[in-house]
């Protein structure tokens, strides 16, 4: 069976997406600040236990500047009753809001990096085809993931070529903005010419045909995957009901 190493890598692609969607929903539904903080701790523990510890560090690195800014903006610069922490005083409500928001960002970023580390585009396409869902939507995501590094390389090559032709990127902001057109226009013109070739290739391969596709090697949808997906859905539904109840909706 195909798939990346580790428990997350072997899971059905839809299971990973439902877990990330569930974490994102719970991050905003659970009561702040305890709920999001506990959720973040749980996500980190699960990521480490399933062999995706590197994603925890990567997410923390992305979130670190945001955590610092949250503390500065909401806790140090916030209003309301203040408490002294060492040499600085912070707003108590601001600190709670910063903690909750920081934990939400951490939980969602960690879950999504676990997903990205385990994401196998071909397994995803096969899973979509096996369900009979829109192949076009899945193709758009997978084709983009394949095109992105190619365009980035092309952008780097154009940058070098234009530099070799004497284009200067330094100086003031106005001069740097003027350099944008000679750097981006070749990228876009190349894209339009590539689109014609690719459209013809897709047409000859019958991508606009309405018939359903047969996946070559669909990923297994095991009982454990279904249990995880239904558990996530149940947790989100319970949290939403609890939140509505707390708001006095019923």
């Amino acid at each position: 069976m195909k798939g990346r190493p580790g428990i997350a890598g072997q899971a059905h692609p839809f299971t990973l997406f439902s877990v990330v969607a569930g974490v994102a929903a719970l991050a905003f539904l659970l009561p702040a600040p305890t709920g999001p903080v506990l959720l973040y701790v749980t996500v980190v523990a699960l990521a480490i236990l399933t062999g995706a510890g590197a994603s925890v560090a990567r997410a923390a690195l992305i979130c670190l500047p945001l955590w610092v800014l949250l503390i500065l903006l909401l806790a140090v610069g916030g209003d309301g009753a203040r408490s002294a922490i060492g040499p600085v005083t912070v707003s108590r409500t601001g600190l709670e809001a910063a903690l909750a928001q920081g934990a939400r960002l951490g939980a969602v970023a960690t879950a999504s990096f676990v997903l990205f580390a385990s994401f196998d585009p071909s397994r995803f396409l096969d899973a979509v085809a096996a369900r009979g869902w829109s192949f076009h939507a899945a193709y758009l995501v997978v084709a983009t993931l394949q095109a992105a590094p190619r365009f980035r390389q092309r952008a780097a090559a154009i940058l070098e070529a234009q530099r070799a032709r004497g284009l200067r990127f330094g100086g003031g902001p106005a001069r740097r903005v003027r350099a944008l057109l000679p750097l981006t226009a070749p990228l876009v013109l190349g894209m339009l010419s590539e689109t014609d070739d690719r459209a013809m290739a897709l047409e000859t391969r019958g991508l606009d045909a309405r018939a359903s596709r047969t996946p070559l090697d669909p990923p297994m949808d095991r009982a454990a995957d279904r249990v995880v997906r239904w558990s996530v859905a149940a947790c989100v539904a319970a949290a939403a009901l609890w939140r509505l109840h707390a708001l006095g909706a019923f």
Partner: protein, 189 residues
Amino acid sequence: MSPRLLALIPSAVAINLAIGFVVNQLGLPLYLDSVGTVLTSALAGPLAGVVTGLVSQFVRSLYEGFIWLPFGGVQVLIALLAAVAAARHGFASAARSLAWGLAVGLSAGLLSAVISWFVFKGVTATGVTAVTLLLTRLGLTQPQAVTTSSVGTDLLDKTIVFLLVGAMLRALPLRVLGRYPPARRAVAR
């Protein structure tokens, strides 16, 4: 969806992502992450632009964590307004592109500010949040500071995006424009 759109949209999304690299190399405090979205709306209409914007936000989220997914709404707004601009010859001259860029920047900035405040408590990209922090130090309330910094950065960003896309569309030969009827209307040729 036609094969042409299926070929165009992934490339346009890749342009949105690759231009981030160019901007970084130039050391500009901009995003320009909607060049592909505006271009697709002008070339193939609002639906193609909206799909480009949404796929773009989804793929960026895969690379950078799903925390920025709520800003997909801003991409949808930009795509729809770019299609309106294209239908009204909004890319026919630099002056028209500038005017539409300012209008779209203002709308996108206001929507960004709402998302920034209600979903992210005002803390989003590092540069924008640094401006927000500075404005709160100057005496603005937090919602005022978030709105001012979001609108300010988006006004500049989207104006440059519209000027760039307009210049590229006007430079396209008629042979290429002929394949994209909305683009011919956009540049009034």
